[in-house]
Amino acid sequence: MNYLPNTPKDREEMLKTIGVKSIEELFSDIPPALRFKGDMKLPAALSESEVAKLMRELAAKNTAQDFATFIGAGAYDHYVPAVVRHVLGRSEFYTAYTPYQPEVSQAVLQSIFEYQTMICELTGMDAANASMYDGASAAAESVTIASGLTRRKTALVSRSVHPETRGVTETYAKGHDITVKEVPFENGVTSVKELEKMLSGDVACVVIQQPNFFGNIEPVDEISSKVQAAGATLIVQVNPMSLGVLRPPAEYGAEIVVGEGQVFGNPMAFGGPFLGILAVKNKYLRRMPGRLVGETTDNRGQRGFVLTLQTREQHIRRERATSNICSNEALNALAATVYLSWLGKEGIKELAEHCVAKAHYLADAISGLKGYELAWKTPFFNEFAVKCPVDPEKIVKSLVEKKILAGYPLGRTYPELKDHLLIAVTEKRTKKEMDDLLAGLEGLA
């Protein structure tokens, strides 16, 4: 199967117009020694129906697809409504490139403008960009922004921030000679005492996560006042769904908000494509990476939208750009926009409340099981850590048979929490699924 419309006769005519005898002649400037001879070792071409069958077979091997998942840890099993898939399936959106020609790109531009507005509303920030690769790279790039503005070279990242966010932040920091230091946690949240000790005059920013990787609510006011006193920037990574019930980070002094927008209408999809949210206070606007859409008027006096403040970007500023990002996650941002339109002002609150209520039901019930206890007494959103009487890896493995994904064993990334299982609950989890998990846990104790 290929997608070539040219007929042999077309090719002949075209070669004649070009003035060459064969297509081969068009490649004559490639040194003969470098020409690839023979056949690439790839499977032979398939018809569409064969490809369809192959893909279905591969998909079918992913048995996890119809399990009840209690794993969260940065990717959450929220329901994706049909309208999201429907709109994303419109090829006017998905077969377009970056909206460089605004006269024929108003759909993409206006939807991004709507997205930017929604993110500002949720976070309390002044400006949101059109998207980053994911929450982790958004956090990593926000550290660069803060370091650039404060001209300081140390970033403090709480150990209660997602381990992969910390990993990406460290990789990115290497290129800027920024030293990343880890702030320890205590009782499942950032240790304010330790943070205070680490806040020297060279600290550009402090990165925390709210709710944090363990699902816990951080003491944000205390953290924020220390960070502000040190003249550093507070960067908060949010689970944006939690902002249905939690106050916007701007209220407690965050100046840059990043987050993983997967929860807004994007499936778990084995980890990607996801949606990097990045929003800032005005002071950081001209250092913000990525695309930004602004409102303007056309030469007929109508409202229209364009890419704006483009001088920040690599295609203009090249080696002095704030970032190298070009392609982003626009279609995932569109999913979020459609999803948040569907959910609306009331829906996001109600959905977040369902997550909280269900998670607390399950947490209460687990802490009543013999041998199991909640790791901390700290308030949490929809995810919590449980100290288990058996190896959490064993729990996960044995519940696979019952089509339950029990949670994320924290020992994988926190040796000090070897016997802890991180459990997430979304609105999709039924009481029966939770009770099945409880029975499974009880049976293993």
């Binding site: 507005t117 990406v168 290129g175 750009a321 609306g344 369902h354």
Partner: protein
């Protein structure tokens, strides 16, 4: 009838709803009993209140204001806007791919891991390289990963004094930005009279302070650098590495392999060469391929196969670390995988051949009116300049492009590469028919004639789009980047 669409916020009405939630089934107490009262939101976020019909109509109407590959020709240079096969989209929507958690136990996601493993193998073969990481989310992200790998390689050899990356003046803007982001100083290399790297200039700057050279081949002029053997010799002799920007790989599949040309690291853009759609800006996917000696620096995890099962390997001794959460843009990989399986080795080669044929055909058809800065056969794209038109009529590339919109065609890339004045960069791709190419060439010729007969017509174009030319300066002077209630 297309007309402008209000913002979703402007059709909001208090109390209107689209959502429904599953039964709660458990007790729900006031939120302040679960969460600290001080942490609760007191003012709701101003999200729209609309019905499901409102949502569908809003985005459907809005969609009609956009051009896309499925609507018409999209010859945007260096972007490879080829047709996005629908079977790939269907495959990526299978619940077996969409509904799997990235931390699900490996035995429950063997299909996903197998697909990734095989895709790694296919890309390595097409590139002529040894090992692949699928983690980078886009081309620029692949560049950054690749340059970090080059940095780690030199560091492992105690050659930290290599602080520079060489970049030709025709390079994509992401190249210098990626070099700097990975901690290097970038040095620009001029082009020679044939549009390739100026060998003398390269020899002059290539020394022990240089970590490597980033090259796109064919380059952004659509020209294959005939001196590539010499270039790789110069760079390698002084201990540098060669990075291949795969943005233009659509010209060479099965015809020449970067690995055989002497490149050490490269990235592919699955959203260009391997037909996955651009999504209005993303998501993309920018896998990185390396030679054997560099495999120890790849980002973690890498997908491996032990003969029985596929698994994620986090144990890469000198890894550059993590570039992204989880494993990359998986659903994009699914589409690229389906594409490679559909075309097979011959189909991929034929795609490149027709991409090059199509570009050369348009080029030769328009030369009576447009000037060619380097008179050679091009590869999958070419750059021309309307020098004569500009001089004789005052019409610029911008005017020609805006007028193309009235012909129902998306304009080529404008004003890039920077080394050609008034550049028009055309990449037709292989999935366009001779009729489409002729229509486009005829349109460019007609517009050239209009420039002489009625230049005002071009200056004021487009005339038929739903909005006219937009005030970009006004937008930048006074940024309005969000809607506000009562605005």
């Amino acid at each position: 009838m297309r007309r402008l669409e209000p913002l979703i916020f402007e059709i909001s009405k208090p109390g209107r709803k689209a959502y429904s939630l599953p039964a709660l089934e458990v007790e729900k107490k006031p939120m302040s009993e679960y969460l600290p009262a001080g942490e609760l939101r007191t003012t709701p976020a101003e999200l729209p209140e609309v019905s499901e019909v409102d949502v569908v109509r809003h985005f459907t109407r809005l969609s009609q204001l956009n051009h896309g590959v499925d609507i018409g020709f999209y010859p945007l240079g260096s972007c490879t806007m080829k047709y996005n096969p629908k079977i790939n989209e269907e495959a990526a929507n299978l619940p077996g791919f969409t509904d799997i958690h990235p931390y699900a136990p490996e035995e429950t996601v063997q299909g996903a891991l197998q697909l990734m493993y095989e895709l790694q193998e296919y890309l390595a073969e097409i590139a002529g390289m040894d090992k692949v990481s699928l983690q980078p989310a886009a081309g620029a992200h692949g560049e950054l990963t690749g340059i970090h790998i080059i940095r780690a390689y030199h560091k492992s050899r105690n050659e930290a004094a290599r602080t520079k990356i060489l970049i030709p003046d025709s390079a994509h803007g992401t190249n210098p930005a990626s070099g700097v982001l990975a901690g290097f100083q970038t040095v620009q290399i001029p082009s020679d009279s044939r549009g390739g790297v100026d060998i003398e200039a390269l020899e002059k700057v290539m020394d022990e302070t240089v970590a490597g050279l980033m090259l796109t081949n064919p380059n952004t002029l659509g020209l294959f650098d005939e001196n590539i053997e010499k270039i790789q010799e110069i760079v390698h002799k002084k201990g540098g590495l060669l990075y291949y920007d795969g943005a233009n790989a659509n010209a060479i599949m099965g015809i020449a392999r970067p690995g055989d040309m002497g490149f050490d690291v490269l990235h592919f853009n699955l959203h260009k060469t391997f037909s996955t759609p651009h999504g209005g800006g993303g998501p993309g996917s920018g896998p990185v391929a390396v030679k054997k000696e560099l495999a120890q620096f790849l980002p973690v995890p890498v997908v491996e196969f032990d003969g029985q099962k596929y698994y994620l390997n986090y144990d890469v001794p000198n890894t550059v670390g993590r570039m992204k959460s989880f494993y990359g843009n998986f659903l994009v990989m699914v589409k690229a995988y389906a594409y490679i399986r559909s075309l097979g080795p011959d189909g991929l080669r034929e795609a490149s051949q027709d991409a090059v044929l199509n570009a050369n055909y348009i080029l030769r058809r328009i030369l009576e009116y447009y000037d060619l800065p380097y008179d050679r056969h091009c590869k999958h794209e070419f750059v021309v300049s309307p020098q004569r038109i500009k001089k004789e009529t005052g019409c610029h590339t911008m005017d020609i492009s805006k007028r193309l919109l009235d012909y129902g065609v998306h304009p080529p890339t404008n004003y890039f590469p920077l080394i050609v004045d008034e550049a028009i960069m055309v990449e037709p791709t292989e999935t366009e028919s001779k009729e489409t190419l002729d229509y486009f060439a005829d349109a460019l010729i007609a517009i050239a004639k209009e420039a002489y007969s009625n230049p005002e017509m071009l200056h004021k174009a487009p005339h038929t789009t739903v909005v006219g030319r937009l005030d970009e300066a006004g937008a930048a002077k006074n940024p309005r980047i969000r809607w506000q209630k009562g605005m």
